[in-house]
């Protein structure tokens, strides 16, 4: 598996798109930090971009990589290799190269700005950790979708729909249901609702770390009570890990039975 991972990673590291993605974050980070001069605000803006963009890029890249390397995958399948190793290797290769673009692209301007000397270092690390999680989650979901769909266009369609649902539509439904049932106690429900969507979970996690939960009103206080503690943080990280782990299991399961 490590060999496949290594080659997928090298292949992607040389692709133009990895650089475009890297340069985009580099530019964004630099502009936000040096023109804004407020670390906390820069992190919030970055968070808003990352929370939406990272899942999108992870999904699109994952689907594209799978379909583009289909013939090559067939060549690999004829080699004495385990099927699991091939697909997990490719998946980890894609996720790692995307993560690297993200971490380097955002990390460099922040280091130049002097993040190590400020007390925002934890907020910043949390931003990178959630970005990494989101990359791994959405690439895994993209691999799942492409493994289940032979048709490229269909696969792309489902992938974009999935992103749209989790990034935008889910929030809409969530808010509507909160409005609809506002007469009932909703703390638990909203907490669970947030936990079930990795994008919402990441957003809440960062917002609360940034200590602006007052903006969120009463729910914010409930959230703060939960996410602000170590217990909440651990549960959240566990949830995000589950979001990586379950799709990965399905990749293994699905690839075992698939015909090529």
């Amino acid at each position: 598996m490590l060999k496949i991972l290594k080659y997928s990673f090298y292949d992607l590291m040389r692709s133009r798109w990895s650089y475009v993605y890297f340069l985009f974050y580099l530019l964004l980070g630099t502009v936000l930090l040096f023109l804004n001069n407020d670390l906390s605000k820069a992190i919030i803006t970055l968070m808003n971009v990352i929370i939406v963009l990272v899942p999108l890029i992870g999904t699109i890249f994952g689907v594209m990589y799978y379909y583009n390397s289909k013939e090559f995958t067939e060549l690999l399948l004829a080699q004495p290799l385990k099927r699991n190793a091939i697909f997990l290797g490719q998946y980890l290769g894609v996720s790692l190269s995307l993560t690297m673009s993200l971490v380097l692209g955002i990390g460099i301007p922040f280091i130049l700005y002097g993040i190590f000397r400020s007390d925002s270092i934890w907020n910043f690390s949390l931003l990178l950790v959630t970005g990494t999680f989101l990359t791994f989650i959405f690439t895994a979901l993209a691999f799942n979708i492409s493994l289940s769909n032979e048709n490229k266009i269909k696969g792309f369609g489902y992938a974009v729909l999935l992103w749209l649902f989790l990034a935008i539509i889910y929030d809409g439904i969530f808010l509507m249901s909160l409005l609809l049932f506002e007469d009932y106690p909703l703390d638990k429900l909203s907490l669970i609702g947030t936990m079930l969507n990795p994008i919402d979970l990441s957003r809440t996690l960062i917002l609360l770390k940034l200590d602006i939960s007052a903006l969120l009103g009463y729910t914010g206080a409930v959230f703060k009570k939960f996410f602000g503690t170590n217990f909440g943080l651990i549960i959240s990280i566990l949830m995000l890990s589950l979001w990586v782990f379950i799709p990965m299991l399905r990749i293994i399961f699905k690839s075992k039975k698939k015909d090529f």
């Binding site: 060999k3 292949d11 013939e71 090559f72 004829a78 099927r83």
Partner: protein
Amino acid sequence: MITIQNLHKTFKKNSVLTGIDLTINSSGIYAILGPNGSGKTTLIKSILGMVVPTQGTIHIMGENIKNNWHYKKNVDYLPQIANFPNNLSVKELFKMIKDLRGNTQADQELIELFNLAPFLNKKLGNLSGGTKQKVNIVLTFMFNSPILILDEPTTGLDPISLIRLKELIRKEKTNEKTILITSHIMSFVEEISDEIVFLLEGKIYFRGSIAQLKSQTQQPNFEHAIASILKTSYA
């Protein structure tokens, strides 16, 4: 070497293979023929473990291939469409496959044979179709496995490379290898194969030498003999 028993494969509702029994015990060149959609590629992919059979068993060198991947070190496969990671160079691809399968020295000779030296440092994405096919051929022949499976090996090759490929296949035959070939180019099949296996609607319709086929169909010409099978089956 290859034993296939009662092999069935159904894709959703489409039955492609409906009971194939095939035993190949000796070395030689076997051509798998059949009209489009007769199940040639599915048969080959089942042998390679890329397609999971609905029913039936396959043994390669005595090993049952179900949930097994070790046996593939005895099989070299030339896929029909060659497509490689675009950002790797030819040299890196060779290095990678050697890294995955074990080292070999045979690639140098093959690179010379197919004049690939000028392309070694080029990226795979920039190669022409024929050159990619040559790279593909080198990848297949550089490991000295006892079983070779070639799916449409002549695609995109220029005449010189075609001659070299034929020489290469004959040379491998003298090395006591079992070679399975599919091709739609009848002259190539006639020239090179020892025995043919003709698939029709998911079953083996005929197996034997070309001479036997000609006498059975009472046609003097190989191409016509094949056509006459198809005509009687379509009628």
